[in-house]
C-alpha cells in the first residue's frame, strides 16, 4: 500500500509536470466558457449553472481526455523503459497507479475550470452555494469519467499502441456520448441530459437512474479486473507467480462482480421494458363503455413503500358476463407480476394484482410524444418510491383507471409524513396507516413521504426533495411568485402565504388558504422572463383546473398552444375560446409583474397584424410569436386586448372569474365567451375595437 501511494505520488508528479496535459485543462476551460452556463452564471441559480456546466462538459470533454490519458498510460510500455519493467513494483502497481493518476489528474486539470465556476458562483450568489454546486459538478463528472478512464486503461492494455487505442476510444466514447436513448439503458455510461430531471433524489427517474449507475459501476469494475488479467500477458514483463489465495480471491471477486452486473443488467432491462411501454389505448377505449356499465367499483391497495411493491384487489359489480379482460389499463409492472380476474358470482368480479410500480417514461420525459399520448395526461397517476407515495384517482395503479371508483382504500406501511391527503378517513392499524375515500373524490388523493427539506422562498415556504436536481428551487420560487401574482390580480389583495411541494410527475403542488393547485412542469424557456411567462401559463391553466388534474394540461400542452382539450373528449381546439382567454390572462399578469408594457402591447399588435387572408404569410408571422393560435383564437385574443384597453378596468378580471365559475374545468366556445362579455360589459367582444378608436 505504501509503495502504491508513493508510486502514485511520483506518477502524479510526472503527469502534472507534463505540459502537454495542460492543453486538456485549457480545452476544458474553453468548453466551459463557450457553454451557456458560464454566460448565465450571474442570472441563473448556482445549481442550475453547476448542473448545466457538468452535463455539457461530460458530453464534450471525455473524447479529448482519452487522447491525453492514453498517451500518458502507454508512455512507459515502449522498449526504452526496460529499466522500469525490471523493477517489481512498477509492473505490480502499473494499472492501478495509472488509473488513479488518470482520475486525480483529471480533477487537477479540471480545477482551473472549477475554480472559475465556483468563484463566479461565490461572487454572484454567496460562498454558501459553493459546496452544493461543486458537489453536483463532481457527481456528474466523476461518475462518467471513472467509466471512461477505466475503459481507456483496458483498451490501452489490450492494444498497447497509442494511436490505434486513441482511435478506438474516440469512436467508442463518441458513440456513447452522442446516442440519445429514451431512458438510462445499458449503454448510458455518460447519461448527460437524459437524467437532467427536475428531481434526482426522488421521482420516477430514481429507479432507472440507480439501476443504471449500479450496472455501469459493475461494468467499470469488470473492466478494471479484466485490465488486471490482461496486464499479466500484455505488459512487457514476465508475470509474477500467482499466489493460490490471491487467485481464489480474484476469481471469487470477479464472479461476484459479474454476477452483480448481470443482475443489475437484468434489472435494468426489466425496468427498461416497463419504462418504455406505451399506453394501452385499446383498453382505455374499451373502458369508456365499461365504466358506464359498472354498478360499483371499489379498490383496495396495499403499498410497501420501501420497494414500491403494490398489492391490489378490486371488486366490481356489473352486469353478468361482462368481458373485462381486454379493458384493463393497469401499469405494466403490476400486470407483469400477477393479475387474476375472476367472476366470483354472477355480476361480481374481482381482480387481484401485484408487482412493482415503475412509472413509464412517457409520463415524465421532457421529449415530444405523439399527440394521443400527450393527451392522456397523468395516465399513470401514481408514484411509489422510497418513502414516497403519490396517488391520483384515475391512475393506472388500479385496473379500470378511467372509471371513477366508489371507494378507495389504501394501506401504507412505514409512512413518514403526509403532506397532502384529500378528505380521507385515516385510521392506524398494525403499524400501517389506512386511508379511505368514498363517493365523490378529488383527482389528487394523496401525497406523502419523501426525503424533503424545507426552504424559505418569497411568499411561501417550499418543501423540496433533498438532493433534488439543480434549478428546482429557483423554479419553485418562480411558481410560487406566479401563483401569488395571479391571486393578487384576481382579488386585488396581497397573496396568502403558501406552501409549495415539489412532487413527482405533477411537478408542483401549491397550497394556501384559498386554493390548491397542481401545476405540471414548465416547458423550456430561454431566459428568466420567458420562463416566468411560461410558468404563468401553467399557473393560469392549473388555476382553471383547480382541484382537477386536467388531462390536457398534464404535460404543459398549452406551452406551444398546438392543441387544447379539456375534460370533454370531443372538444376540439378550433371550437374553444378558452385558450386565448387563458393565454391573454397569463400575458397580462406577466406584464403587470414585469412592467414591460411595450413588449406586451407589441405582442398584441403582432397578433392583430397577422394576415389571415394569406395562410402562408400568417404561418410565417406566427413563427416569431411566443404562442401558436389558429385564426379564431387570434381574433378572440385581440378582442380581449381591446376589451381590456378600451373597456372598464375590471371587465377582464370579472370575465375571467365568471368564465371559471361557469365552465371550469371544461371549455367554452366563442359564442359562450361572447355571452359572458355581454353580461360583464353590456357589449359584444368585437365592439370594443371600434369603441376604442372612437
Amino acid at each position: 500500500m505504501k509503495t502504491f501511494v508513493n508510486g502514485l505520488k511520483a506518477q502524479y508528479k510526472l503527469f502534472i509536470k507534463d505540459k502537454i496535459n495542460w492543453l486538456f485543462a485549457v480545452a476544458f476551460l474553453l468548453i466551459f466558457l463557450l457553454d451557456n452556463s458560464f454566460s448565465q452564471i450571474k442570472t441563473a441559480s448556482p445549481v442550475t449553472v453547476a448542473k448545466q456546466a457538468a452535463l455539457f462538459l461530460v458530453l464534450s470533454s471525455p473524447i479529448f481526455y482519452v487522447v491525453f490519458f492514453i498517451r500518458y498510460f502507454l508512455k512507459e510500455t515502449g522498449k526504452k523503459y526496460a529499466y522500469l519493467w525490471s523493477r517489481d513494483d512498477f509492473g505490480n502497481t502499473f494499472l492501478l497507479t495509472k488509473l488513479a493518476v488518470g482520475i486525480i489528474g483529471f480533477i487537477t486539470l479540471s480545477s482551473p475550470t472549477l475554480l472559475v465556476l465556483i468563484s463566479g458562483i461565490a461572487y454572484y450568489h454567496g460562498a454558501a452555494q459553493i459546496l452544493p454546486s461543486l458537489g453536483i459538478v463532481l457527481l456528474i463528472l466523476l461518475s462518467s469519467y471513472l467509466f471512461v478512464i477505466t475503459l481507456s486503461s483496458l483498451m490501452a492494455i489490450l492494444i498497447r499502441n497509442p494511436l490505434p487505442a486513441m482511435a478506438v476510444l474516440i469512436l467508442v466514447v463518441g458513440y456513447l456520448t452522442t446516442r440519445r436513448p429514451l431512458y438510462l439503458d445499458h449503454l448510458s455510461a455518460m447519461p448527460g441530459f437524459v437524467y437532467s430531471s427536475q428531481i434526482i433524489g426522488i421521482g420516477p427517474h430514481r429507479l432507472p437512474f440507480l439501476a443504471n449507475r449500479a450496472f455501469i459501476l459493475g461494468v467499470t469494475i469488470i473492466f478494471l479486473l479484466l485490465g488486471m488479467l490482461f496486464a499479466r500477458v500484455r505488459l512487457p514483463r514476465n508475470p509474477n507467480r500467482l499466489k493460490p489465495i490471491a487467485t481464489i480471491l480474484f476469481g471469487l471477486g470477479f464472479a461476484a462482480i459479474v454476477g452483480f452486473t448481470i443482475y443489475m443488467g437484468i434489472k435494468l432491462n426489466e425496468i427498461g421494458k416497463l419504462v418504455t411501454v406505451t399506453p394501452n389505448f385499446e383498453a382505455r377505449e374499451q373502458q369508456a363503455l365499461i365504466c358506464k356499465a359498472l354498478d360499483s367499483y371499489q379498490v383496495v391497495l396495499q403499498v410497501n413503500n420501501k420497494n414500491s411493491f403494490v398489492h391490489g384487489q378490486v371488486t366490481i359489480h356489473a352486469p353478468a358476463g361482462l368481458d373485462l379482460s381486454q379493458s384493463m389499463s393497469l401499469n405494466a409492472g403490476l400486470i407483469n407480476d400477477r393479475l387474476l380476474l375472476r367472476e366470483k358470482e354472477a355480476g361480481i368480479y374481482t381482480i387481484d394484482y401485484n408487482g412493482t410500480f415503475v412509472v413509464p417514461v412517457y409520463s415524465y420525459a421532457g421529449i415530444a410524444y405523439p399527440r394521443e399520448i400527450e393527451e392522456l395526461g397523468f395516465a399513470t397517476g401514481a408514484m411509489f418510491d422510497k418513502e414516497m407515495v403519490m396517488l391520483l384517482r384515475n391512475g393506472e395503479w388500479h385496473p379500470l383507471s378511467n372509471c371513477n371508483p366508489d371507494k378507495i382504500e389504501v394501506q401504507i406501511t412505514e409512512l413518514k409524513e403526509i403532506y397532502y391527503s384529500s378528505t380521507a378517513q385515516i385510521t392506524e392499524e398494525n403499524e400501517a396507516v389506512n386511508f379511505k375515500w368514498e363517493g365523490l373524490m378529488p383527482d389528487v388523493l394523496f401525497l406523502s413521504g419523501g426525503d424533503y427539506q424545507e426552504e424559505k422562498i418569497e411568499h411561501s415556504y417550499a418543501l423540496i426533495p433533498k438532493h433534488s436536481s439543480p434549478g428546482l428551487l429557483e423554479n419553485t420560487e418562480i411558481y410560487s411568485k406566479m401563483v401569488a401574482r395571479l391571486q393578487n390580480a384576481l382579488t386585488g389583495k396581497p397573496a396568502d402565504k403558501q406552501k409549495v411541494y415539489v412532487t413527482p410527475l405533477l411537478s408542483h403542488a401549491i397550497q394556501n388558504d384559498s386554493t390548491h393547485l397542481f401545476i405540471p412542469e414548465s416547458g423550456p424557456a430561454a431566459n428568466r422572463e420567458d420562463k416566468e411567462a411560461a410558468i404563468l401559463r401553467d399557473v393560469v391553466q392549473s388555476w382553471w383546473c383547480e382541484g382537477y388534474a386536467c388531462p390536457g394540461f398534464a404535460r404543459g400542452s398549452i406551452h406551444n398552444g398546438t392543441y387544447m382539450e379539456i375534460s370533454k373528449d370531443d372538444a376540439v381546439y378550433e371550437q374553444t375560446a378558452l385558450v386565448p382567454l387563458l393565454y391573454y390572462a397569463s400575458l397580462k399578469i406577466a406584464n403587470e409583474g414585469n412592467t414591460n408594457e411595450i413588449q406586451f402591447v407589441q405582442i398584441v399588435e403582432e397578433y392583430r397584424n397577422i394576415q389571415d387572408s394569406d395562410p402562408g404569410t400568417a404561418a410565417y408571422q406566427m413563427l416569431f410569436l411566443p404562442f401558436q393560435m389558429e385564426a379564431q383564437g387570434r381574433d378572440i385574443f385581440v378582442g380581449l386586448a381591446d376589451l381590456d384597453s378600451c373597456g372598464e378596468e375590471e371587465y377582464f378580471w370579472d370575465l375571467l372569474k365568471m368564465a371559471k365559475e361557469r365552465y371550469a374545468p371544461g371549455y367554452f366556445t366563442k359564442d359562450e365567451l361572447n355571452a359572458l362579455v355581454l353580461e360583464v360589459s353590456g357589449k359584444n367582444l368585437d365592439q370594443f375595437g371600434g369603441e376604442c378608436e372612437n
Binding site: K79, K80, S86, D88, D89
Partner: protein, 293 residues
C-alpha cells in the same frame, strides 16, 4: 552460481535468436561479446524477466526468471542499451522513484552516495532533460545500482560515450565487479579487456565461447599478421584475406594492415603478431560465419 542458464532458446517465429545457450556466472564482471543480432539483447531481456524463453531455463541466484520473476527482479539492476528518462524530474527525484519501484524507502543518503559515485552531485537539482548524453548514461548506471542489487545487467553501456567517460565507466564496472555480478554486453572489445577476464561470445544465437579472455585470445595466436601492402595490390589483398584493421601510410600511400591470411600464405614481408581480443574476436566471428555458410 549467481546466474545460470540451461539450454536457453528463444525463437521469434521461425527465427532463432538464442539457441541452447548454457553458461554459469559467479561474482565479478563478465563480458558478453557478439555482433549485432547475435542474441545479446535477447539474453539480457530474458535475464531481466522482460521476455520468456521458448525453452530452457535462466536462473538468477537460483530463482527462475519465468517461474519466480518477482524474486529475480529484486536481485537485478538493468542498464539498458536504449532508454528514455523522465526529463522533467531531477536526478534526486528520479532515483527516489527508482528506489520506490524496487520496494525500498527513498533513502536520501543512499541517493547522494550514488550521485557522487557517478559524478552527478553538482547537478542533482537540475532537470534531467538538460543533461548531456554522458550525464544521462551515468544516471542510468546510478538507477541500476541505487537499490543495491546483486546482479547488474548492462547492455552496451558505453555506446556513444566519449573516451574519458568510457574509461570512467570501465573503472566503475571493475569496481562494482568486486562485490556484485556484472554481465557486460557489448561489441566494444576494449570495454571487456579493461574490466574483466571472463568472457562469453555469442554469434547467431549460439554461445561460441565461454571462458577466460586470455584463452580466447590464445586461440588466435599465430593467426594474426601484419603487413604493408602496396596501394595497387590492395583490392586483391582485401579479397584474399580477412582484414581486421588497416591504415594508409601518409608518406608512401601504402597500406599497413592487420589481417588473417586466407588460403594463400601471407605475402612476403608479413609477420605474425601477438593478437588482441579484437583480433581474436574478429577471427572467431569470421570462422563461425564460414562454418554457417
Amino acid at each position: 552460481m549467481i546466474i545460470e542458464t540451461n539450454m536457453l532458446t528463444k525463437n521469434y517465429g521461425k527465427k532463432t535468436a538464442l539457441r541452447e545457450v548454457s553458461f554459469t556466472m559467479g561474482r565479478g564482471v563478465f563480458g558478453l561479446l557478439g555482433p549485432n543480432g547475435a542474441g545479446k539483447s535477447t539474453l539480457m531481456k530474458i535475464l531481466s524477466c522482460l521476455l520468456k524463453p521458448t525453452s530452457g531455463t535462466a536462473r538468477v541466484d537460483k530463482h527462475d526468471t519465468v517461474k519466480d520473476p518477482s524474486e529475480v527482479r529484486k536481485l537485478i539492476g538493468v542498464i539498458p542499451q536504449e532508454y528514455n528518462l523522465y526529463n522533467r524530474l531531477n536526478p534526486t527525484e528520479f532515483l527516489e522513484y527508482m528506489l520506490l519501484l524496487s520496494g525500498k524507502d527513498p533513502d536520501k543518503k543512499r541517493i547522494d552516495e550514488m550521485l557522487e559515485r557517478v559524478n552527478l552531485s553538482s547537478v542533482k537539482k537540475q532537470k534531467i532533460g538538460s543533461f548531456s548524453g554522458g550525464m544521462k548514461q551515468r544516471l542510468v548506471v546510478a538507477q541500476a545500482l541505487v537499490h543495491d542489487p546483486k546482479v547488474i545487467l548492462a547492455d552496451e553501456p558505453t555506446a556513444g560515450l566519449d573516451p574519458e567517460e568510457r574509461v570512467r565507466f570501465r573503472n566503475l564496472f571493475s569496481e562494482i565487479g568486486l562485490e556484485k555480478t556484472v554481465l557486460l554486453s557489448t561489441h566494444i572489445t576494449e570495454d571487456i579487456t579493461s574490466s574483466t577476464r571472463n568472457l562469453f561470445v555469442l554469434n547467431h544465437g549460439s554461445l561460441v565461447f565461454s571462458g577466460q579472455v586470455q584463452d580466447f585470445v590464445r586461440n588466435a595466436e599465430g593467426k594474426i599478421w601484419t603487413s604493408v601492402v602496396k596501394n595497387q595490390d590492395w583490392e586483391v589483398f582485401k579479397r584474399e584475406n580477412l582484414i581486421i584493421s588497416f591504415m594508409i601510410l601518409p608518406e608512401s600511400n601504402d597500406i599497413e594492415v592487420r589481417f588473417v591470411p586466407g588460403k594463400r600464405n601471407p605475402p612476403e614481408g608479413s609477420h605474425a603478431i601477438i593478437p588482441t581480443l579484437e583480433d581474436a574476436y574478429m577471427l572467431m566471428i569470421h570462422q563461425e560465419n564460414r562454418k554457417e555458410e
